[in-house]
């Protein structure tokens, strides 16, 4: 069995599952946020009663992150609903807005808080819940009804997916980031190329990545329609998780006889910096093909491109340069924001590097990654042409339907912010790398 099949079999109390089986699994963690939490809570109460208690207080994690710094009354009401539910149910893992506890983007906060544990089953009311597969967890997005069902029962049905394997052989060149790998794959297989399937990433190119790089890969499996992404856990995984939680976990690995839907092999040395052109994540081009394309804005943030390693990469390129276009820097979480003020490159903190280059500095949240209310930080309200480290560029995703979004790695976004046109990061990286 593959790792995914094994996790689901164990969670279903079976010794074996095969792809296509529908199984009812016990859920280890349920995640929700401010957009989908309130309707899920509404359904939970409607179906299980006004005074029903959730199945397990310690397994429900609520992380408001989407519409945080807005005057929109409806959006703020959503936070109120979460707050009163958390207090009524006495939930230990609610990370309230405006408190010390506030975290920001859930998919980056979840690992920071130790909720992404190898071998477990995580469901979340957000499609990028698949990010946690980087830790060898089965993690996938669900809707409000399914979340409400879990709140009451602790169970959900899933169809066991086939697994597609993606192998990156050899060392990844220093100008290539995890984002280039995943944009390449999505461009190759299309936005529905992995629908209903698991995507596993492996090979020494992947296994040498730190957890944040692996998270960038698994984050975007949903952009290929994938159900979950997965990287087999190893010492890198265990070290990261053990530093953040004492919670026991039981990792699972692929069996030697595991069967795959398909296997694709990439030679890491042949990879190129990639973009996804408007208006689809699979509309791939190499940076070389589109270099010189005029831009009006750059955006560095979100669950896939707003981690500390993403900012370290961007800062390496931006330091000492002036920027030609408005550039927005949005740390995914408060922890990342704190690190921006601590981590240095050539003696300067990342925060200082961005600020002195004239970047607009945002608060930890999803911000303009999904457009949001019209007063959202960095939102594309007009006919902007934006290059972004986020994960989606469907029409109107970051605000106005009239805007265009190019997706790229933090290196490419940073280099393009300096030049004001799409630019190959190799032009700005020190020659030694």
């Amino acid at each position: 069995m593959t790792l995914t099949e094994k996790i689901l079999a164990r969670a279903a109390g079976k010794t074996k599952t095969i792809p296509g089986d529908n199984v009812w699994v016990d859920v280890d963690v349920l995640l929700t946020h401010d957009v989908c939490g309130p309707p899920a809570i509404g359904i939970f109460k409607r179906e299980f009663g006004e005074n029903a208690a959730v199945w397990d207080r310690k397994k429900l994690v609520i992380i408001p992150d989407h519409y945080i710094f807005t005057k929109d009354v409806y959006a703020n009401r959503n936070i109120d609903i979460l707050r009163s539910f958390a207090s009524e149910q006495q939930l230990p893992y609610y990370y309230d807005v405006g408190t010390e506890n506030y975290k920001g983007v859930c998919h980056v906060a979840m690992p920071e808080l130790g909720f992404t544990r190898p071998g477990e089953v995580l469901f979340g009311t957000d499609s990028h819940t698949c990010t946690a597969g980087a830790f060898g967890q089965f993690a996938t997005g669900i809707g409000n009804t399914d979340a409400a069902f879990i709140m009451g029962t602790g169970k959900l049905w899933v169809k066991v997916p086939e697994t597609m394997k993606f192998i990156f052989e050899g060392e990844i060149p220093p100008y290539i980031m995890a984002k280039d790998l995943i944009l390449q794959i999505i461009g190759d297989i299309g936005v529905d190329g992995a629908t209903y399937r698991a995507m596993e990433f492996t090979g020494d190119g992947v296994m040498r990545m730190d957890m944040e790089g692996r998270m960038t890969l698994t984050n975007m499996v949903i952009e290929a329609g994938g159900k979950n992404g997965v990287v087999e856990p190893d010492e890198t995984t265990f070290n990261y998780v053990r530093e953040r939680t004492n919670h026991p976990f039981d990792p699972v690995y692929n069996s030697p006889d595991a069967k795959y839907h398909s296997v694709r092999v990439y030679k890491s040395s042949e990879l190129e910096p990639m973009v996804a052109k408007p208006h689809s994540p699979d509309n791939k081009a190499t940076v070389t093909e589109v270099k010189g394309t005029k831009l009006t804005r750059a955006y560095i943030g979100s669950c896939t491109g707003g981690k500390i390693s993403d900012f370290e990469a961007a800062a390496k390129i931006i330091k000492g340069n002036e920027l030609k276009i408005d550039t927005y820097v949005v740390p995914a979480t408060t922890e990342v924001k704190r690190q921006l003020r601590e981590v240095t490159f050539e003696g300067q903190t990342l925060w200082d590097i961005f600020e002195s280059a004239g970047c607009h500095m945002g608060e930890a949240s999803c911000a303009a990654c999904l457009g949001g209310p019209s007063d959202t930080f960095g939102r594309l309200n007009h006919e902007e042409i934006c290059i972004s480290t986020t994960n989606r560029n469907f029409p109107g995703r970051m605000g106005s339907k009239k805007s265009q979004v190019y997706l790229a790695s933090p290196y490419t976004v940073a280099a393009s912010a300096i030049a004001g046109v799409i630019t190959d990061p190799r032009e700005y990286l020190p020659v030694t790398v």
């Binding site: 509404g42 929109d72 669900i142 409000n144 029962t153 989606r392 469907f394 029409p395 109107g396």
Partner: protein, 184 residues
């Protein structure tokens, strides 16, 4: 025999959930009738005008002063409902009056949400029909025989049987299904 009858609204490939219900509208309550109706008002408002209602486009799914659409069945291209996990997407279509979608394939979270929430029936067709059927055409779906009848051409098109999930569709959603099967 159960029939779903209505007018077609035709769309292209890869209609994502931001087009089905743009993120800025996700703030309304899903229960309060005076707010819920806005989901019907803004359903499919993220679709670029030029491709809204094929083949010509330029047809608003819901008229600007209305909360319900004049169309009851969506005929779309591949990968309908891709993007975010927002259940507001099938919900908004239901509020607008959509009973079924017909597409060659769906993004899995949309498909699941549509069925588990009992919002609408996501039927798979065997070949793309969004080049054959025009916005406004009268359609009839026979849910027992899994057949689509296109009145303008008087042609019948087979739809893929719902298989495993037919029981959940039949029950009207995952809660009804679970109760029927004494799961809680």
């Amino acid at each position: 025999m159960k029939k779903i009858v209505g007018k077609a609204f035709v769309l292209g490939d890869d209609i994502d959930t931001d087009q089905i219900i743009p993120a800025e509208h996700l703030v309304y309550s899903l229960d309060k009738p005076e707010e819920k109706k806005f989901y019907g008002r803004f359903a499919l408002s993220g679709v670029p005008d030029s491709v809204s209602g094929l083949p010509e486009g330029g047809i608003p799914f819901t008229q600007p002063d209305k909360f319900e659409s004049d169309f009851q069945i969506i005929v779309a291209g591949k990968n309908f409902g891709c993007g975010s996990s927002r259940e507001h997407a099938p919900f908004a279509l239901q509020v607008a009056g959509i009973k079924a979608v017909i597409a060659p394939g769906y993004a899995r979270i949309f498909y699941r949400n549509a069925i588990d929430g009992g919002f609408l029936i996501p039927y798979e067709c065997f070949e793309s029909l969004n080049g054959t059927i025009k916005t406004g055409d009268e359609l009839e779906i026979d849910t027992d025989l899994d057949l689509l009848h296109h009145k303008a051409s008087d042609k019948q098109y087979p739809l893929r049987p719902l298989g495993d999930v037919a029981d959940i569709v039949e029950a009207g959603g995952i809660f009804e299904y679970a109760r029927k099967n004494k799961m809680f």
